[in-house]
């Protein structure tokens, strides 16, 4: 109970808020409330104890640790990780804490590095100082109805609103849909290595089977099994892929909805030191990204069910200080062009920035960055002036050349792809291959169906040919392409004819066989001959050897059908 005076203050603050003496909630307005209590309300004994708590740095640190470990647990915000950090930051700016050294590091920062904003100073052509660290924190309170509060700078209110709306859109709106569409096309998958290999092998096998069926030797009796394997593997791969993608999209949407609900009730506080009055809206993109980061930091467990969000937030959380962003963002998450060259200059000169997100516009490419790096005086070779302890020693330069990565984006969803390093060229290649194979199989689906599930055997029906030189084999089938008629005779020359839908005076589905008498045969045998109905088997443009014979008719029957 060493710091019981803080509880005294806290209860005064809560009671004053309840009675209507304070406008802001105890947490939201803690700095002003403390200032008022410390100046006018604190008892003599409290003031002594407060002075005692600042006696030396060790006791000061003890108080900070107490706020983090004990006070935060006993309030209604138990488990809200950012609350004690906010409290310490706010107290660090008011007496007597503003003069205490242990609070120094909390005075101008929440110590939660975020994505830096590229905001040019007055008449600046791009200096390292123009890369401005932005921090965001989420407070589980919003008593004054201000959803987004700026600290240390004066923004345009509309800009903050747009950043917040675009963050909401990315969490569970059109922004997330755009991201998911992009991720499905070219995003890294959360499969284990064996499954990735299996899926890739499956598509490769399908490619091989397709080529074999199109160009390989005549398969004969194996055709059925080959086609069954083709359709089976394809259906399995489609099922696995659709299930995996669907599940990930569903989890991402559910997780996004949860985060969005959190964002709708909480207050976001954005901090950018320097007291700038922002002109223009190019800081909208980093504000949006930092709002998302604040959500994750407030509740990291919220992302545990979604691999997509876990990966994105994990990368953003651990590498945020290496990222900078610029771009005017709309409420729907679109990025519109900004002044770019001086900002890239600033990034090149900055020591900490490794990646920069910009709108997709002229000058937003690696060539521009390389040119700026070449022009930068920092890249000019410096002569080694380090004094070595011994003349025999020599310097060995093993420094890695720093390269600024630029990520031009049209939409916040694209920025999410870049930050989460979701882009995967191998996956793009696999997807293209899969699409090509699937398109081929879909085109060949009627052919495959006729092989795997053959249509019923047709019956010969009228009309018969009225010409003595033609034999008509009319069939009652909806699948004329699947059948052909073969004439076998000792009198007439053998012929094969495809069954087609034919027009004329008597339209029907039929095969027309022209009758040619063999040399040396007498007219008495002109009824000699059998017409077989055979199944045709083809795959896209390739026709295989005929399949099963499903009908047998004599010439007499076919010529007299309908004339009995």
């Amino acid at each position: 109970m060493r710091f019981v005076w803080f509880w005294t203050f806290w209860h005064w603050s809560k009671e004053s808020f309840r009675s209507g003496a304070l406008l802001r909630g105890p947490l939201e307005g803690i700095a002003g409330h403390w200032d008022e209590w410390f100046r006018h309300e604190a008892a003599e004994s409290d003031l002594k104890a407060i002075e005692e708590a600042g006696r030396n740095q060790s006791v000061q640190r003890e108080f900070i640790a107490w706020i983090f470990r004990h006070w935060a647990r006993d309030t209604e915000w138990r488990g809200k990780r950012l609350v004690p950090r906010f409290v310490v930051n706010q107290l660090a700016g008011v007496p007597p804490f503003h003069q205490r050294s242990a609070f120094e590091k909390y005075r101008t920062s929440y110590r939660l590095p975020g994505v830096s904003a590229l905001v040019l100073g007055d008449k600046s052509a791009g200096m390292p100082e123009d890369v401005r660290p932005v921090e965001a924190i989420l407070l589980p309170t919003n008593a004054t109805g201000q959803p987004t509060v700026s600290e240390g700078f004066q923004p345009d209110a509309a800009e903050l609103a747009a950043a917040r709306l675009s963050a909401e859109s990315l969490l569970s709106g059109k922004g997330l849909l755009r991201f998911l569409a992009r991720w499905i096309v070219s995003g890294k998958r959360p499969y284990p290595r064996w499954l990735s290999t299996a899926v890739f092998s499956g598509w490769a096998a399908l490619g091989g089977l397709t080529m074999f069926l199109l160009l390989g030797p005549e398969p004969g009796d194996k055709l059925y099994f080959l086609c069954a394997a083709l359709v089976g593997i394809w259906a399995l791969l489609i099922l696995i892929t659709a299930a995996a993608l669907g599940w990930q999209c569903f989890r991402a949407w559910r997780t996004g909805v949860g985060f969005r609900r959190q964002l709708e009730v909480d207050q976001v506080r954005l901090r950018m030191n320097g007291g700038l009055a922002l002109k223009g809206g190019s800081a909208g993109l980093p504000f949006c990204l930092n709002i998302l980061l604040a959500l994750y930091r407030a509740c990291p467990d919220g992302a545990r069910h979604s691999w997509i969000w876990r990966r994105f937030f994990g990368e953003l959380h651990s590498n945020a200080s290496g990222w900078a962003g610029t771009g005017v963002i709309t409420a729907e998450g679109r990025l519109t062009p900004v002044v770019l060259e001086p900002k890239l200059h600033a990034c090149v000169k900055s020591e900490s920035i490794r990646h920069v997100i910009t709108p997709r516009q002229r000058g937003a490419n690696l060539d521009s960055v390389d040119r700026l790096i070449e022009e930068s005086p920092a890249t000019a070779k410096e002569s080694p002036t380090t004094r070595l302890p011994s003349p025999a020693m020599r310097l060995g330069f093993a420094a890695e050349k720093r390269r600024l990565q630029i990520h031009p984006c049209r939409h916040i969803g694209q920025a999410m792809m870049a930050i989460g390093f979701f882009d995967d060229r191998r996956q793009v290649a696999t997807n293209l291959f899969a699409v090509a194979i699937s398109a081929t199989i879909l085109m060949a689906l009627p052919d495959l169906r006729s092989i795997l599930v053959p249509p019923p055997a047709p019956m010969a029906v009228e009309p018969a040919s009225s010409s003595p030189y033609y034999l008509w084999v009319s069939l009652d089938t909806k699948y004329p392409d699947c059948f052909s008629a073969v004439l076998e005779s000792g009198y007439w020359s053998n012929r094969r004819s495809d069954v087609k839908l034919r027009g004329g005076v008597k339209p029907s589905v039929r095969a027309e066989i022209q009758l040619h008498r063999l040399i040396g045969r007498t007219a008495s045998n002109n009824d000699d001959g059998i017409v077989w109905i055979e199944r045709r088997r083809h795959f896209l443009g390739r026709e295989f050897l005929p399949g099963e014979r499903v009908g047998r008719y004599s010439i007499v029957y076919l010529t007299h059908i309908g004339h009995e």
Partner: protein, 179 residues
């Protein structure tokens, strides 16, 4: 140099010297003049500012969607009387305590980049009459505080005033050399 001077003689010498260097005392009339509030000294300017202040309309249109939304307080119409121009703005009362005939108040100005010390005159919302005047100092970013003695009639009527109530006054703020 003579060093064995008695301390009494030394103190007398120092007093005589301080009196000789001190500025002449102000006349009683001048002191009375300085004790008068500024609106009595500059009535025309005050009238002009009051007319301008009374034209400011700061009203809320309540279009609440959430029934549980906390009250956010009323904004107080504020006129910042500058040396060159007057700026219309609004203030939000953050803390208000009117007990024991003393008024303690903290407020946040919507206008940024204001000096650390300003003079606040509370003007009656209905009549436009000046109620009291106080010096406010910057406490946090754009947050000012002041403490002032309340006239008995105000002390009675403001005792139950809450920050979420509509304020019975407007702010006239002077921040410049003439304060």
């Amino acid at each position: 140099m003579k060093i064995d001077v008695p301390i009494e003689q030394l103190l007398r010498w120092r007093l005589a010297r301080a009196e000789a260097e001190a500025p002449a005392p102000l006349r009683a009339a001048r002191l009375l003049h300085l004790a008068r509030p500024w609106w009595e000294l500059l009535p025309e300017r005050f009238d002009h500012l009051i007319q301008r202040l009374r034209t400011i309309h700061v009203e809320f249109g309540h279009a609440m969607a959430d029934p549980n939304q906390s009250p956010t307080g009323y904004r107080v119409a504020t006129l910042i009387a500058g040396e060159v121009e007057n700026v219309e703005t609004a203030a939000r009362i953050l803390y208000l305590s009117a007990h024991s005939a003393r008024l303690r108040m903290r407020f946040e100005l919507e206008q940024r980049n204001m000096p650390a010390a300003i003079e606040v005159t509370l003007v009656d919302e209905q009549t436009g009459q000046p109620l009291l005047c106080a010096s406010a100092t910057l406490s946090l970013e754009s947050e000012y505080r002041f403490e002032v003695e309340l006239p008995p009639e105000l002390a009675r009527s403001w005792q139950r005033l809450k920050v979420t109530d509509r304020m019975p006054f407007r702010f006239l703020i002077r921040a410049g050399k003439d304060t």
